[in-house]
Structure formats: C-alpha cells, structure tokens
C-alpha cells in the first residue's frame, strides 16, 4: 500500500489527500473501540502507559453495543465452563463498584411447564439455581426463589399456559455503549489518544516497534503513529485486522455468531421471562431501560461486519418462541431490531450455542511479531478481567487499578429529582441523564444554566436534551447522528428518529463546524439504517409509521440520491 510521507504540519490542510503524523511515540496502539479495546486502553492508561486507540466505526459499534445489555453471570455456562460463570460474576461485582449509576437490577423468571415430569423438572431447575446462588454474592445478586403457579400468575400475569411453578433469580442490566464510551473517556483523561471513525490500513514493523497507518473515514485524513506494542481488540473483525499486520489469519480465528434482538416500545413484562425457541434454544423476553426486548439468535455469519442485516425470519423465530410463554407479545408494538456479531472462539463441527464463551490472548511473538497481541472471544460481563489480562502482559510491573478506580461519573449518583428542579428540566430527562452520566450529569446540566436554549428536547422518546447532544459531541467523540444515538439512545424509541434525526444533524454539524448538508446526510443515513432495522419487525402500526417516515423524508429532507434535490451540494 503506497502512503504519502507525513506532510509537515505547517502545510497541513483538510483535503482528502492530506496526511497527519501523530508525532508522539506510543507505548501501545489498541485497535478496536469495543469494550475490550477501550477497557484495555483504560487499564494501560491508568498504569501510566501512553496509549493510542483506533476504531474503524464508532466505539461500541459492534457486539459491545448490540448485545443483551447485561453483565450477567451466565448461569447457562455453569456446567461446561464454571470458570466463565465465576469470572463473569466477580467482574460484574467490580463493574458495579466503578460505575454504580450504569447498572439496574433485572429480575428473571424461569417458568416450568406442567406435565408428567413437571414436578421433577422444577426440582432440577431449583437445584441448578441453588448452585448458581453460590456465585450471586460476587455480584451482589439475590439468591433464587421458587414460586408456585398461582404466585407466578400474580407476579407475571402475561405468562399463560399450564405451568407447575417457576424459579426467579436476578441479573444486572447495563448500557453497553455507555460502558465503552466511559472506558474510552477515562483512558483519554489519563493521556490516551482516541481516534474513532479511523480505520487502520497497515501495521508495519519499524524502528523499535510498529508503524500504524490509518485513515479517517469521515474526512479522508491519514494518521500515522508509532507504537511499541499493538493490541488487536477488534472482536469479529480480528482476522481482518490481523491480515493488515501481515499475520497469518489462521492464528486469530473467530467464529462470528450473529445475534439479533427485537425491541418493543415499552416494558411489557415485570420480569425477564425465559422461553424456548422452536429448536430448543433458550431465549428471553426482557424489560430493559425504557423498553422490552426479545433475544437472541445465534447463527454463523459470513457477511459484511460493517453492515449486518437483521431479517424478518429471525424476528419470527424469536417472537414465535417468546409468544408460547407470553402470548400477548404478539399484540405489543415492536419498534425495531438491533444486531451484533459475537467474536466467539473458533471451533469446527460444533453448534453455535455450544461454542465456548471463554476468551484468549494470542501473543504474536510466535509469528515473528513481538509486542503484537490479539484478544479473541470474551463477554461483556468479564471485559474488565480480560482487559486486565491483556494489560498485565504488556505492563506487568504496574498493578491494575481498573477494579477500584471509578469510571467517569461513578464517584456519586446525584438525585435526579433535585437536579430536575434546580435546572428546570423534566424529571424524566433528569433521570435519564443521571443514568447515562452519573455525577457527570452535573456537567451536562451546567450547560443549560449557561445557555437556556440547550434545554431544547431534541428526542422526545428518550428524552434527550440539546445539552446532552452537545456534551457527547464535545466530550465523548460523537461525530455523527449515529454516534449521538449510540451514546444517548436518541432516535431509538418508537418513532425511530423521525422527529429528531434532522435536528440532531443540525446540532452535530454546527458543533463540529461541518457543512449543514453533511449533517442532513448523516440524518438521512441514520434514518435509513433505522428503517432497515425496523421494517423486519414491522407490524400493522409500523406500516403506517414507515409510510409517514417516507412522506416526511420526501417533503422535508429530500431523498439521498445524488442530483435530484435543490438540496444537493454546498458552496
């Protein structure tokens, strides 16, 4: 690949061909802005290492931002790999300590069918969760309880059918994208340099370390940086990244497993309800933040990782399974789907579900690339542990502190109602801001005191204020409407961004000083992706909404095809 040499900074200009040399020499370059990449960057930055992080799309763009949103212990893994369960539970406990504002309790219910062997099955499930109870204290979890059918009907009236009883237990919910962003921001505050929307194009051995060349996909600018160590934390993209470093891809094999979730406009159940899909796989219907979701599928995926589709077949598979336990889900209003690809450890001849959820660090010294590592596999719940293991390999002399130091905003959780009053915003908006930002909610809200205009509600579904949009643009590296959505859940509600995307595009363009048309293009792009993810879950209500979105795009946003609109081109 032929790249230009660095242009002296005095001659730098913002044209496509310009190159920017990051003059600093880094100890470590982390490639990948998912939870393992940002977690490793944070860990190493806290250990005093100079870190640079490159992310091809946005932080939490892949599996880290499109999972079930839990740091659960994984009772499912208890039989085959109890160490995964124990590790997940212990790390979940640590995450609670460093970001208490970001966690919420999700009670689970496991209904057990009546029948010839119903009683015995209930005993077995009871015994199974008795074993899981042993891990619960590690994450401040409650021990399980066993309830009879009438109690279950009272607690979760939506479950219909002949059941002998149920088991309840609890897990912790978390906003995955926020977890990534907070790790990234903390790394930055400890000296790391972050580049999102910047794809690494080559990793070449250079004098004492590696030379990394990357390209900013939004501006076209090239970035070159030198680092002694390189960490490939690119999840399902890991083999692609390894190939850029001329490493044999057979050394970093993953088996990408695609999983989709169907989302609903509100919380439709009190408990997360376990159900079974047609093939016997375990799925669940779960209340999460201000919505409900059904998850999840697990299918081998061979397609483009940057643009993963969800299909109506996957939706039908999930709804069919969930409805057998919770029939009214068919009448609930689906708002869309989201989709991620698990970076599962490679195995051939194994069913997707049976693949190990463990993680592994591959030291590429054996491949003639000392100082280069790949992180493979892992789970959201144990990202901190995995990151620590990675950092231990690179900086063994400095102890890890990621389990004791707060993530940004973790020091205390402000009282949302009091904030709502002092800053004259709605209590719901205040609660959501506190949930996402912890004590840094005060920084977001200090903005509305300085500039009352920023009280403007940009996304009414969530809700998201202009102040928070600007905060995530200025402080959290949000560069597009999609980035803002990932950080604030703007446009993720029942309207799918119809009311807020255009306005958000204006705010982003103004804040970043880019052309207004670029902001509109971002809005259109976001709406198209949202529509793509929504239509597959489309029911009668959504059909009208899609038609409305189409009409609105035509009337006030124009269409994206080049050369059709008055709106094309800026001068």
């Amino acid at each position: 690949m032929g790249f230009r040499d660095a242009t002296p900074s005095s001659h730098r200009h913002a044209s496509d061909a310009s190159a920017r040399t990051d003059e600093a020499r880094y100890d470590v370059a982390v490639i990948g802005g998912g939870v393992n990449g940002t977690g490793t960057a944070r860990d190493l930055a806290l250990r005093g290492r100079k870190v640079v992080l490159f992310e091809r799309n946005d932080f939490a763009f892949g599996a880290s931002g499109n999972n079930s949103g839990m740091i659960h212990g994984g009772p499912r893994y208890m039989l085959k790999s109890p160490q995964v369960t124990e590790e997940s539970c212990r790390d979940s406990g640590f995450i609670q300590q460093i970001a208490p504002f970001l966690l919420f309790r999700i009670p689970f219910i496991v209904p057990v069918k009546d029948g010839p062997r119903g009683r015995m099955m209930l005993e077995l499930v009871d015994a199974y969760f008795k074993a899981y109870d042993k891990y619960q204290p590690l994450k401040r979890g409650e021990p399980h309880t066993r309830i009879d059918a009438s109690e279950m009907a009272r607690l979760e009236p939506g479950i219909v059918g002949p059941y002998v009883g149920a088991i309840t237990f609890d897990e912790w919910g978390i906003d995955g994208p926020r977890l990534c962003i907070l790790n990234a921001v903390d790394a930055e505050e400890h000296g790391a340099r972050l580049y999102n929307h910047t794809t690494v194009e080559s990793v070449a051995p250079g004098d004492d370390g590696y030379l990394i060349t990357a390209r900013d996909t939004l501006t076209g600018e090239r970035v070159r940086a030198r680092a002694a160590h390189v960490v490939n934390a690119t999840g399902a993209w890991a083999p692609v990244t390894a190939a850029l470093g001329k490493l044999p891809t057979t050394r970093v094999l993953v088996r990408p497993g695609k999983g989709i979730h169907v989302t609903y406009d509100r919380r439709v159940s009190n408990y997360a309800v376990l159900a079974e899909a047609i093939d016997g796989r375990e799925i669940f219907l779960m209340p999460w933040q201000n919505m409900s979701m059904i998850g999840t599928t697990d299918d081998d995926y061979y397609g483009d990782l940057d643009h993963v589709p969800s299909t109506s077949e996957e939706v039908r598979y999930l709804v069919q399974g969930a409805a057998r336990v919770f029939p009214s889900i068919r009448e609930a209003r689906a708002t869309g789907t989201y989709v991620g690809v698990r970076p599962t450890l490679y195995g051939f001849g194994v069913m997707e579900d049976a693949l190990s959820r463990e993680h592994a660090i591959i030291d590429h010294a054996a491949d003639g690339a000392p100082g280069m590592y790949s992180m493979i596999g892992g789970k959201l719940a144990s990202y901190r542990q995995f990151s620590q293991e990675m950092a231990d390999a690179i900086a063994p002399s400095v102890p890890c502190t990621t389990h004791e130091k707060w993530l940004p905003g973790g020091d205390r959780t402000p009282d949302a109602l009091a904030l709502a009053e002092t800053h004259a915003i709605t209590p719901v908006a205040a609660r959501r801001i506190v949930y996402r930002h912890g004590s840094r909610a005060l920084r977001v809200l200090a903005r509305v005191d300085r500039c009352p205009r920023e009280r403007e509600v940009v996304c009414a579904c969530e809700p998201v204020l202009a102040a928070e949009v600007l905060h995530v643009v200025e402080r959290e590296h949000a560069r597009t409407v999609g980035d803002v959505a990932r950080r604030t859940r703007l446009g993720m509600g029942s309207c799918g961004g119809m009311r807020c995307a255009a306005r958000c595009g204006q705010i982003v363009a103004d804040a970043l000083g880019i052309a207004p048309a670029a902001g509109r293009a971002q809005a259109r792009e976001f709406l198209e992706r949202q529509a793509e993810l929504r239509v597959v879950a489309m029911g009668p209500d959504q059909a009208r909404q899609e038609a409305l979105l189409l009409a609105q795009m035509r009337a006030t946003l124009g269409e994206a095809e080049a050369g059709t609109g008055v709106d094309e081109g800026e001068s």
Binding site: R499, R503, Q506, A537, M538, A547, L549
Partner: protein, 394 residues
C-alpha cells in the same frame, strides 16, 4: 343522485365538491386525520416528486386550492425547518414563497421551541445553491417572540393557534417591527410554523409588519394540516355537503343502489360511494400480516398482508395486478415491501385496482387508496375530482 364520500382528506373533499358541482346530493363520512392532516403545506413539485409525475392542474383544482387556503405558485421555493429549500407547485398561504422575493436579507424569527434554531437554520439555508443563486441571505433576528414562557414547552401548532387571536398577532407584529428596526434592512421575514391554526395569518402579519412574512415548513407538528381541516370544514359547509363522523365498515350493493354501513350500526343509502380512505398512511389500506392476526404458532391459512379497511369488493393490488397469496405461511416478507429496501416500496404503491375510478359496481375510489398512484397532493385532488364527477353521473 345521492353520493356518499368516505374520507375527508384532500381526495375526499375534492370528490365531494366535484359531485356537488354535478348536482348530486352529497354526504361525507369523516373518520380520523389522515395523510392530508399530516401534510406540511407544500404541494408537489419538489425535485424528487417531479420524477413521480405531476397531474396537470385544471380549473376545478385551481379553484379548490384557493378555497382550501392554498396559493397557486408554479415555481414556489419554500424553506423547511429540516434545513433545506424545496420547490413546490402550490403552497399553504401561510408559507413564505422565497421565489417571490427580491435579492436581500431575510430575517429569521428565533424561538426556543422544539426543532427550531434560527441561527442554525440561517446557516443551513445560506449554504444552498438555490439561496445563493437568488442572492438571498438568511439571518436570525434579535429579540424575543414568544409572549409567554409556557410557549417554550408547547408544540409549534399550539403557538400557531394563539396567533389566531388578532391582539396576539398584533403583539407579534410589533415585536417583529421592533426587531427589524434594530437589524440590517430585510426584504422578508420567515417565522416558525406559527401563523394561525384556523386560517393562515401570514397576510395579516405581512400587512402589519410592512414586509412579506411567512412560515417555514416544520418536520413535525405542523399547523398546516390543521389549517387544511378548518378550511375543508368551511368549504364543505358552504357547498351544502352534509358530514357525518364515523368509521365506514362496508358497502353493500343491490339492484336499486348501495348501502354504506358505519361502525355502530348506522346505515346510509345512496346511489354511489366514493372511497377516498387513504393508502397505508391514511389507514385505508391495512397492513395485517398473518402472524399478527393469529396467535397460534402457525396461522390456519396463508394470505397476503394487505386489505382495505372498508369491505366493498375492491380488489387490492399493485402494478395493475391483484396481490397474490405468497408461498409462505407467514405472509409477505416485510423487508421486501418497505422502504428503504425497495425505493418504490409496495407499502407506498399498494391500493385498490380500478378502471378510471370505478373499482366495483357503484364503488368509485380516489386518492392514495388507488394503487400505483403517486402519493402527491395534486394526484389525489385530480383523482378525487374524477371520482366525484363519475359517481354523480352514475
């Protein structure tokens, strides 16, 4: 002749007035707000609509546009709060037509409401070739234009309703004049979608300010639809069309005539029925996938996913053909019928099949309810006029 029109959007009104013009006795059944009530005030001719083919505008439609508070302006240029400028064939009188302005500065009224940031909009509009070519320069005006603090939390349409009050509009005009006195000379003033809910107040404001004043289009909660509804009700009453609120359920046709049944049991006897009930957006076409209807894992029989909301023997199809039963127990694949997978999605094309406007014996159809018709204002108006006329002639 007695004609019953079902639907009170632009196609329904057009049909009712056209039938009335032919001397028929007309009654109109009004359901809920549909696509027209959600419209933004711009009539067709946006560059991306031009490709869909616009209907020619005849004398009847020209008159109807004026009756409904629209200005016939073949080359109008309208501003939208999404930050674009778009063309239009005609427009709601409340909107400011930039094509009518001389070169110069256009003052933008600021407000703290949802979705309206005057400085940002000015920046956005200023960057567009259409503004540059006309030498129009947008700039936010100084001052405060919301009289009461509760208005910051209101929708644009609610503030628009407040400007129906003459005294309040006078206060607003004074505020605009005071602001103009403090800023560089302007050739016009563009306001948020604020200028009246009952009628367009742009002319009254322009007169008091002494400059052309008008709205920009809002992406959501536009008062334009409300103004249409008010003008519609006035013109139907003036034309002697009786209106009934209710949901049409079915049309039964006999030798002597037709009977329209409403939800709740009421029946209206007539000679012909015009169904102007809208497409998917208006609710005339219901998307009803099999899995949403049947709670069992497998539905008892497969069907396609669309039906008319009124049972009247109208065949539902697209591209001139009846929709076929798909070879799937679960109906059509959602991703094959909806935007953005298909640029011209089935969702937008599906409707009743007809010859001219006749869809079944004594049943005429109009507007978005017709299959494959471009979903534009003028197409709906013209098809309504045709259906009304044909129904009245029998």
């Amino acid at each position: 002749m007695k004609v019953v029109v079902v639907g009170s959007g632009i196609a329904g009104v057009s049909a009712a007035l056209a039938a009335r013009e032919q001397g028929a006795e007309v009654s109109l059944v009004r359901g809920a707000p549909g696509a027209t009530s959600l419209s933004f005030g711009a009539v067709d001719a946006a560059p991306w609509e031009r490709a869909r083919g616009n209907e020619p505008i005849d004398a009847f439609c020209t008159k109807l546009l004026a009756t409904l508070g629209f200005r016939d302006a073949p080359n109008a240029l309208l501003a939208a709060a999404s930050g674009i400028l778009r063309g239009a064939r005609a427009h709601d009188e409340a909107l400011l037509d930039l094509a009518q302005l001389p070169a110069g500065r256009v003052g933008v009224v600021p407000c703290d409401q949802f979705g309206w940031d005057a400085a940002s909009l000015a920046r956005s509009w200023n960057a567009l070739p259409a503004a540059i070519a006309r030498n129009l320069f947008f700039e936010a005006l100084p001052g405060v234009f919301c009289k009461h603090t509760d208005e910051h939390a209101m929708s644009l349409a609610e503030v628009a309703a407040r400007h129906d009050d003459g005294a309040r509009l006078g206060w607003f005009a004074d505020a605009v004049r005071a602001s103009l006195a403090r800023s560089a000379p302007c050739v016009a003033v563009i306001t948020p979608p604020w200028l009246g809910a009952e009628r367009a107040r742009a002319a009254a404001l322009s007169e008091r300010v002494g400059l052309p004043c008008g709205e920009a289009m809002a992406p959501a909660a536009s008062p334009s639809g409300r103004r249409f509804e008010a003008a519609r009700d006035r013109s139907l009453a003036a034309a002697g069309v009786t209106t009934t609120a209710g949901w049409a359920e079915s049309v039964r046709v006999a030798e002597a005539g037709a009977t329209l049944s409403l939800e709740g049991g009421a029946q209206i006897a007539c000679d012909a029925v015009v169904l102007a009930i809208g497409g998917v957006l208006g609710g005339g076409i219901v998307y009803a996938p099999a899995e949403a209807i049947f709670s069992d894992a497998m539905p008892p029989y497969p069907r396609h996913g669309f039906r008319a909301s009124v049972s009247a023997g109208v065949v539902i199809g697209a591209e001139g053909r009846e929709l076929a039963v798909p070879g799937s127990m679960f109906g059509l694949q959602a991703e094959a019928i909806a935007w953005p997978f298909a640029r011209d999605p089935l969702l937008d094309r599906v409707g009743g099949l007809c010859r001219d406007s006749l869809a079944a014996e004594r049943v005429y159809i109009a507007g978005d309810f017709i299959a494959d018709r471009p979903r534009t204002w003028l197409a709906a108006m013209a098809s309504g006029a045709r259906a009304g006329k044909a129904a009245a002639r029998g």
